[in-house]
Symmetry: C2
Subunit: 462 residues, 2 copies
């Protein structure tokens, strides 16, 4: 017996075909003459409708067992469906119930549940339509990420999770330790990290960029795709303590090339999802956010606008509206500013470049004006910044100076400086938070609902 996935039957199944499916019951309806059940195997949003007739062996027993959540194997004959809403249905000739689900206690009954409630059921919430669709889109996106880069000769590099660097200098780091916290060894009142597993203080990484740069200076083009961490006490709909990040890095590349890659990347991912998950995307457009399809097509079909930060400030100063945060050259753009630019002024994605050096990280390349750096942020309608990148400072002396200005020492980053000492080249890259991309794509309001098991302050269940 080889089994069929429901998505394939719904798309290509032919009447008269004998097939076997395995999955979980979503609903059951009984009439006098026969019964229906809807079965889902996770391969698609839509269920397969199964018809059970009284001639079926153990009909009565089976009917009592196939409540919502039960697991079944059904063999039967496909037939055109006379009902609305499906092309095809399955007339069961044999049904096996593997595991029941007591209707008195199974939490996912047919009624609608809040996403908040579902978060307490992280182990089974993907059995609902919305969370199931999210996870399929997540997989399709992830796969499209790899395809995009692999086709262009990028190497996937696994940069370290446990690190002794603080790349962003933000200090929002989780400690990683083998110490018994009840009794941390000390020397003259200070923690004696020399006794810890790594012989020094270690953290969870906030970015693989610095190590990816090292790899790009051998392999020309690399990308990371792995978990990163922020120990930020932010209980918002946009923050996770643990999230996945994608960071491409290219040698012999400047800011133009970086922007080109970012734009091509987003177009590729959105196109892949529209092509491969049309039903799921339609569902989000109908049930979650009716601008989702428009936004996706917008990303795919429109050339992104590219403007400098200085020009962006001019546009904001001349905007026919008042912002909560006032605008002047030197400020960090706020969400309201970013949204004005892409939603109102340009009405499409906008790449803002050449930000003031004072508000950007030490590794970004200093422009000739010595006031701005070769940074770029991709701003998208409805969401704001979706990608942040830059050309990296490849000149040894300037980088060393910037490291010191940022309050670090050249000794801490000796190896990163070495990359500028031996065979340095112009290089550039960007970072993109994978969960924000999924949020953007699906319109899901809370980032906790686009990752299987979210980690946030006070929450590491499952």
């Amino acid at each position: 017996m080889s089994k069929h996935r429901i998505i394939n039957l719904l798309r290509n199944g032919q009447p008269e075909e004998e097939v076997t499916i395995q999955g979980w019951v979503r609903t059951k309806r009984e009439s006098k003459k026969f019964a229906f059940m809807e079965v889902n195997d996770g391969s698609s949003l839509a269920n397969l409708q199964v018809i059970l007739e009284p001639e079926l062996e153990n009909y009565k027993i089976i009917l009592s067992q196939i409540n919502t959540g039960a697991s079944v194997e059904v063999t039967g004959i496909l037939a055109e469906s006379p009902g609305k809403g499906q092309r095809i249905e399955l007339h069961a000739t044999a049904v096996t119930v593997y595991g029941e689900a007591d209707p008195e206690t199974y939490p996912l009954q047919k009624k609608r549940h809040s996403f908040e409630f579902l978060r307490t059921l992280g182990h089974i919430r993907t059995r609902t339509n919305t969370l199931g669709a999210v996870m399929r889109i997540r997989n399709t996106c992830a796969n499209a990420v790899h395809q995009f880069f692999q086709q262009q000769g990028f190497l996937w590099v696994h940069t370290p999770i446990i690190t002794t660097n603080d790349c962003e200098g933000a200090g929002e780091l989780f400690n990683v330790t083998r110490f018994n916290l009840k009794d941390v060894p000390k020397e003259n009142g200070e923690v004696d990290y020399s006794q810890d597993f790594f012989g020094r203080q270690a953290y969870l990484t906030v970015s693989g960029q610095l190590e990816a740069e090292a790899m790009a200076l051998t392999f020309d083009r690399v990308y990371t795709f792995g978990p990163t961490f922020r120990a930020e006490n932010s209980n918002t709909s946009r923050h996770l303590a643990e999230f996945w990040m994608i960071e491409p890095e290219m040698a012999f590349c400047d800011l133009q090339g970086d922007m080109d890659l970012a734009e091509a990347f987003l177009k590729h991912i959105f196109k892949a999802v529209l092509d491969q998950c049309p039903e799921d995307m339609e569902f989000f457009n109908q049930r979650i956010d009716d601008s989702v399809l428009t936004t996706a097509n917008n990303i795919i079909n429109q050339e992104f606008e590219r403007i400098t930060y200085t020009r962006a400030i001019e546009l904001l100063e001349n905007a026919p509206k008042t912002f909560e945060y006032s605008v002047e050259w030197g400020i960090d753009l706020q969400s309201e500013h970013e949204r004005y630019l892409c939603e109102e002024y340009f009405q499409k994605p906008v790449i803002v470049t050449d930000y003031p050096s004072a508000i950007k990280a030490f590794y970004m390349r200093l422009n000739d004006d010595e006031k701005t750096v070769g940074a770029m942020d991709v701003l998208a309608p409805k969401i704001g910044e979706i990608i942040g990148g830059s050309q990296r400072e490849e000149r040894f002396d300037i980088l060393e100076k910037r490291i010191k200005e940022a309050g670090m020492t050249p000794e801490q980053l000796w190896w990163y400086l070495d990359l500028r000492r031996y065979g340095t080249v112009p290089h550039a890259g960007f970072g993109l938070g994978f969960e924000r991309l999924i949020q953007f794509m699906t319109g899901m309001g809370n980032i906790r609902d686009v990752i299987p098991f979210p980690r946030t302050p006070e929450n590491a269940e499952f």
Copy 2:
């Protein structure tokens, strides 16, 4: 100017073609009439030979700059190479040197370096032949992993890195904390984890299996591919504190299906690497371990032997040799036993099944004999266990009992038990350490040399 990757020129470049390459100088040789340099851009093991003639603009200056490690862009005309060892060479018409590398201080001069020494140069060691080849094979393997599963409808699921479970119960866990270790909050002499970021004690995961099971019970087929951690104080050539693991999980699947998947998986990965990285594999066979190609072909072409643990013990008891660790039913197989079975007795990969329950994890399915569990280990020549998997215990009562016997409480694993309460199904999966696979494939002696930035006791540099 669009640039060419060296691997494409070496494979398909035609004489008379004008091309531009970018990369790093590996060697330079000068003669009276002209100079050669070998350039590598990370896309292949082999370098492209570049001929520089005195007519070239700034010939003398360029010659003084193109020492080993310097970064260059070369435009020129391809020509058939009269020399040995390459089909094609590049006659330079323009050379730009981006970054020099002082021959007095650049550590990677032409002479051979020990792998141990190279580990101190993690940021540039991939610029050597061996480490470069390792990372290309690593990328090809990683990509083949995704292809294998995606083609069969498996979803890539991102299980959590920060966790409050200890899946293996082994206790070799890193703590994750936001506490200032100098002053950990206590309550009645015990650490007050309620004040920590997650409100409870948190660790780095040792396996995503339990969460993957939850996802498989929605999506039927899923896999993880992500970092996992062991805080084991093992300074061996086979242990890392941080490594990547692949864990597929299938619903409606028993031990047979699990073995079939494991065998098909290994065959697919080895075939992909032989097809896509022939030069790199040839290099490992010549320089590192001359059995590497034989082993790969062995994996691809031979049907794996499948025997029970009980049969394996019989074979070992009757072996015409003495083992260091004596053999009797109930022991955990030692490396010498595993190697005897696959290297001497069967001379091919062997899958051993149905191990004593006492030596296996609580989640493995109890067989009807109540002494063994539906476990399987795939043993490979030269390396021993490469994959470990099992059918999972899907019966609520038995699982609950096994959890208690393992010294845990059903409350700790309430959600994992829930999966057996609501719509349980037979399911199975396995785990494979990605770095051990790469070691196996390349013959590299030390696992620290098959991951970009290894983490081991006393070592988290870069």
